[in-house]
């Protein structure tokens, strides 16, 4: 809209400026024409009255002191009347002023005389300027008014559009907010809103179906997995089990285990996405961290890692306890698992953020897909199912926290959960 307005303003500007010039020259032309007619009229009158003067010496009396009228003898044939604009010194104003001068040859007592009649253009120029200024002022006022009216009208007209835009900006597929557009006066916008409502409703439906599918699928897999797992466990009880069979069984058990974990993670992810952890309560992160940390000590000791804890705040958050436990557990075990022998894990907690830093591979996580699901990790660290960070991010998203990943050369990986 501003584009249209800008173009319109530019056009109006050009018209005003050009119009001012055209107008000026037009008025001036008319004015000069009128002046010239007046001069010719005077010439006619003067020529008529000339013969009433009996003595040539008296002609001088006719001449005005300011030089508006001059009569002097001329040689040769009488000239045709000629009008020019010339600059003359004005004794009153004491400066050069424009004059319109008519020069014509006349006959006086059979002798050729030169008659010069002048009119000052000064007063009339001022008058002209006045008209010009008034004219331009009028144009400016008119233009400003037009712009104002147009802006006002545009804002009123486009208001439903901006409302729709604001709604779309805040629209989230995964939120249960109703899709509601207020009907307005403009038919086109109503139609747009109607189309948008249909589109969004359908998208949300598809999204929900998909989400439910993930949850249901994972759910349905739990029981067959339980069957497989228990059967394998029973098989392991066989007293006649050979070592060869035990090796196969072990492999099968660990795969079943892995499947079960994967499935559980998928289910968890789906459940977080479905907002099934809606309950909000005061959570003290300090407690959560120390609790999870206690569970991790064995793994950490075994990996030979140095732990640095700087818990300088309670880390009070109003959110879901279970989700916070999962988040901290995921991030902490991530830091332990992807570490290097003799490495370290640093945990910082302040009022503003919860930060976990760990030494690791000298390569940052791929930018943009740090939190991608099933991201293939070149380091080949086993044990995880590739959903830990995805779950962490989903939790932060759900709880309104921000999870940031940074890589600090040479090999420091930092995850920051912004609390405030």
């Amino acid at each position: 809209m501003t584009r249209t307005l800008r173009t319109q303003l530019a056009y109006a500007g050009i018209v005003v400026v050009a119009g001012a010039f055209v107008f000026y020259f037009l008025l001036r032309g008319i004015y000069l024409h009128e002046t010239d007619e007046a001069l010719e009229h005077r010439l006619q009158q003067t020529a008529n009255k000339l013969n009433l003067v009996s003595d040539p010496a008296d002609l001088a009396l006719w001449m005005k002191p300011d030089g508006d009228l001059e009569i002097r003898p001329a040689e040769g044939a009488p000239l045709k009347p000629e009008i020019i604009t010339e600059m003359r010194f004005d004794s009153i104003e004491k400066e050069l002023e424009p004059y319109r001068t008519l020069t014509a040859g006349v006959q006086y007592k059979g002798m050729p005389y030169l008659l010069v009649i002048r009119t000052s253009l000064v007063e009339d120029e001022d008058w002209l300027m006045g008209i010009m200024i008034a004219q331009i002022g009028l144009l400016v006022i008119l233009l400003a008014g037009l712009v104002f009216v147009q802006q006002y009208m545009a804002r009123r007209l486009w208001n439903p559009f901006y409302e729709t835009l604001a709604y779309l900006r805040h629209f989230r597929l995964d939120r249960q907010t109703p899709i509601l557009f207020a009907p307005g006066a403009v038919q086109e916008f109503n139609e747009l809103n109607k189309a948008l409502t249909e589109l969004l409703t359908e998208q949300r439906r598809v999204y929900l179906v998909q989400k439910e599918f993930t949850e249901n699928a994972s759910h349905e897999m739990q029981t067959p997995l339980a069957v497989a797992h228990t059967k394998l466990e029973l098989l392991a009880q066989d007293p006649a089990l050979t070592e060869q069979q035990a090796v196969h069984l072990d492999a099968l058990l660990s795969v079943t285990q892995r499947l079960a974990r994967l499935n559980r993670s998928l289910l968890l992810l789906a459940r977080i996405e479905n907002n099934l952890f809606a309950g909000s309560e005061p959570v003290i992160l300090h407690k959560v961290i120390t609790g999870i940390f206690g569970q991790l000590t064995e793994q950490a000791e075994e990996a030979g890692l140095t732990f640095n804890l700087f818990l300088n705040a309670d880390g009070f958050v109003e959110t879901n306890q279970t989700l916070m436990e999962i988040l901290v557990s995921n991030l902490l075990s991530n830091a332990v698992r992807h570490n290097i022998p003799g490495g370290s894990v640093t945990v910082r907690l302040s009022e503003a953020a919860f930060i976990i830093e760990n030494t690791g591979k000298a390569v940052p996580l791929p930018s943009g897909s740090e939190f991608a699901r099933f991201r293939k990790d070149a380091s080949g660290v086993t044990g995880g199912v590739g959903l830990g960070l995805a779950i962490s991010q989903q939790i932060c998203d759900t709880c309104g926290l921000k999870l940031i990943y940074e890589f600090i050369t040479p090999n420091l990986h930092r995850f920051t959960v912004k609390l405030a």
Partner: protein
């Protein structure tokens, strides 16, 4: 001791029966809501293993039924549903424990043993295996009436093995039993090996002999020496 298994998945029910009968429990299976309802109303069980999603009704309603009838049967919920609300609702309705599918048989067995013992022998909460005695309440393990100095994890491990005597307990079961959900993030069994090694040494030092056998790479079996 009588156990009612309320589970609609026949194969899973069969596995449970097979494992638990080996532990000297008598098992009955109810594959649907109506059958379970009849059995619960008609008999008393030491323990009911309850699946929540049943053909013909919600397992939680069976818990309500038990409450209405003021029955004292112990209940362990075994469900594919892992929602916290289900867990809380179940426990509020009088269930004693909650296991999410898929679970480990030896873990289930340990939970049943703990539940049955808690309900049956109030106060005298001990398990005996030869010269080894475990006080479940005080969490102390005695060998020939002399207490062993064990860490928390070693006590947990000892109790798990005692609840599954003469059975192979998978190392993954031990790992999860010892470190809970956090074990999910690690594929390493080093802590399990360490705890087993220490426990074996402490038992042997106390004169209990070599009663924890390694079953190939699979896991461990607690059995009293033939001697």
């Amino acid at each position: 001791m009588k156990i009612l298994i309320v589970e609609d998945e026949a194969e899973l029910a069969a596995s449970l029966v097979s494992y638990l009968e080996g532990e000297q429990y008598r098992c009955e299976v109810a594959a649907g809501f109506a059958v379970a309802e009849d059995k619960i109303l008609g008999y008393d069980y030491d323990c009911i293993l309850l699946d929540l999603t049943l053909p013909g009704g919600d397992g939680l309603n069976l818990l309500r039924l038990l409450q209405q009838q003021q029955k004292a049967d112990g209940v362990i919920i075994i469900s594919a549903r892992n929602a916290l609300d289900d867990r809380i609702t179940g426990l509020k309705l009088g269930a004693d424990d909650y296991l999410t599918k898929p679970f480990h048989l030896s873990e289930l067995s340990a939970r049943i043993a703990a539940l049955v013992r808690r309900r049956r022998f109030n106060g005298t909460n001990t398990v005996k295996a030869g010269i080894i005695t475990a006080d479940l309440q005080a969490r102390i393990v005695y060998v020939s009436n002399r207490p062993l100095t064990l860490t928390r994890s070693e006590v947990d491990l000892m109790l798990l093995l005692l609840a599954n005597q003469n059975r192979v307990v998978m190392k993954s079961t031990i790992a999860e039993h010892l470190s809970g959900d956090i074990a999910e993030h690690f594929d390493s069994y080093e802590p399990v090996y360490t705890h087993i090694k220490n426990l074996k040494r402490k038992l042997a030092d106390a004169g209990a002999g070599d009663c924890i056998k390694t079953v190939y790479g699979l896991g461990y079996r607690f059995e009293l020496s033939a001697t």
